[in-house]
Amino acid sequence: MDIDQIQKIDNEPELVRKAQKGDQRAFSLLVKKYESTVYSFAYKVCRNEEKAAETLQDTFVNVYRKLDQFNGKAKFSTWLYQIVTNNCLMKKRKSKLDKSSVSIESPESGQEDLELQVDGTPLQALISLKQTPQDEVVNKELRELLDKAILKLPIEQRIVFILRDVEGRSSEEAAKILKVSVPAVKSRLRRARVFLRKQLQEYMEV
């Protein structure tokens, strides 16, 4: 079965039920269907291929061990995101790399407000990113800046930003995945957006 056929599996609940009953082929199909999703999400969170591959393994081992705990009330993908998100959080906590996050100004309310009050024309300039042909190098630098900036975000804000703005999940689903309230998701998202936007300022034309 190729990847297109796997993606077209429309009776996912049935596939999950079969896998829960010990059907190894059904489980393999679930792995094949979601391996890219899990890896891609993990990579976006940690920006490191090795760590993303480790998270991929840990996630599916957990899925295999806990599959009987999935009750089918939520979507399978939501449950899967809960597992991969937990793995990302655990990996981050274990690695003690949060040092860089501690010193980062966490954009509390007021920070963005001050900016709006003092900025007049510069805000207008923010919408015009440098886009001339010779700016390929600048774009590469910009991507590196994006990577660096997102890694500076506290992991909880980073995950919310990726779920909501990069993966396109709703606030409600992000709240289910993270087991927090929708206002908590929105608060983290606001801080992440404000912080990341500020990080791009040097690449804006004034």
Partner: protein, 88 residues
């Protein structure tokens, strides 16, 4: 002349609101008020656009795909997991 405090407050509110609710399908009274404000406030509109631009950049940033070695390792780990489960 200094900016009116009321206007400051509204711009601040708008900044907070768009940061929390950008990309949400909202139809509340406050949402309408924010949209109305955005129609007349170039400052807040620019702020909103810069947020959108930043998000677009992140969405379009290249990601990584599962490599064959990583996939093989995953399948090997799962095979081992199955064998352990069977033995238990």
């Amino acid at each position: 002349m200094k900016t009116k405090p009321a206007s400051k407050l509204l711009c601040n509110e708008v900044a907070k609101y768009v940061c929390e609710n950008l990309d949400e399908q909202l139809n509340s009274r406050k949402c309408h008020a924010i949209k109305k404000h955005l129609q007349t406030c170039s400052n807040c509109t620019a702020y909103l656009n810069s947020l959108k631009k930043m998000i677009t950049l992140y969405r379009s940033a290249p990601t990584s795909c599962v490599s064959n070695p990583a996939r093989k390792k995953l399948y090997a780990v799962l095979k081992f997991e199955r064998s352990v489960t069977r033995q238990a």
